[in-house]
Symmetry: C2
Subunit: 246 residues, 2 copies
Amino acid sequence: MRNIKLTIEYDGKDFNGWQKQPNKLNIQGEIERAIEIITGGEKVELIASGRTDAGVNALGQVANFRTESTMPIEKMAYAINSQLKKAIRVQKAEEVDEKFHSRYTCKKKTYRYTINNSEQGSAIFRYMQYHYPVKLDENKMNEGVKYLIGEHDFKSFKASGTSSKSSVRVIYDAKVWREGDLIHIELTGNGFLYNMIRIIAGTLIEVGEGAIEPAEVQAILEAKDRSRAGKTVSPSGLCLMGVEYE
Amino acid sequence: MRNIKLTIEYDGKDFNGWQKQPNKLNIQGEIERAIEIITGGEKVELIASGRTDAGVNALGQVANFRTESTMPIEKMAYAINSQLKKAIRVQKAEEVDEKFHSRYTCKKKTYRYTINNSEQGSAIFRYMQYHYPVKLDENKMNEGVKYLIGEHDFKSFKASGTSSKSSVRVIYDAKVWREGDLIHIELTGNGFLYNMIRIIAGTLIEVGEGAIEPAEVQAILEAKDRSRAGKTVSPSGLCLMGVEYE
């Protein structure tokens, strides 16, 4: 069986998230259906680096599937896209080693959360940004986010009620910067807990508006208590930028 | 009567263009309705710098209206936006001289046309770009567009069948550049004919793919013949960036 790796962009607002579920438009199901058509009926399982929630965008999601198809690899992205809604685009298709697994062999993921910090927000980019009109200090936010770098138990930044064995994760890089009216929060880690980045963004907003000090981020982290962190902010600001493998 | 100038951003894909028309969602009508609500019933006429077609975006459209309202000017944008769909955002409201007229006193308009020149196109930005996968030479396109600078009769770049007294316009600046997979065409002029920028973009695409030489743009301009120019390309790539007044 060939093992095919896809790099995928999608517009999260048009779907109820990545995961396949009955009667709800989802990204996984749409791509599996397209692959079934172009392979003449193969029912594949498309494994992503991780699920993304409803409304979350991706510029560089990675997923793989196994196929008996003999279609040349350079035609694969065109063929799949020809059967997909334009809100999903396969940007690249590559043939990979049989050991490649989008989830298990993933080394790093990078997510970006974008806040529109203008008075009125954007009309055109409203599904790619979270509008927060109170003036934020991006330098304080950048100071605060640095406390998250390293291996930590991120229980304070995990949605309550979610079951996952361990809430220990490694963040390799974290930064916040301003680009005009936009504030970007970018995190690279070995994996993220459910809602973790949206809760981190909500907490950093409190830092940016001066409600809490940057050093408080460390205290929140150490408390291992969800109630100490900020709100879970809108999925529309979140984008999976890319996934790295060995 | 106070004269109020609005600077407006909108997401063109959600409307049948700027102009008010019955039974079709349009930007002018939506904003006039919002103003009627916040002024407690005034039926104003909102005059734009120019109409934009269905699907065309704006980051900096300008429009003005006259009102008896005594609402403080700094509250006006918030109040209007509170009554509008999020696909339209008033970015700024200013009180201006009674002689100010969005259309008649306009000096310069800047439009940008954006081509996505990647193989598969973008999912997230599909309504802000025109996808053209054939590799384009942006340097040749930039050479070609320079022939349009100055005062010319742009009849070759006017939609056939449109009645306008004169097709003479002045282009002050015109340039084409690449930003990764994107190619931007930006034109600043004293006004543009119906479909003019979309036809210019279609012609420059022919230059970029090598179908015609850059110098051919001058020959097309001088021919004053619509059939000599390129296709009218998609409105989704077009954005009104800003309007300048004295």
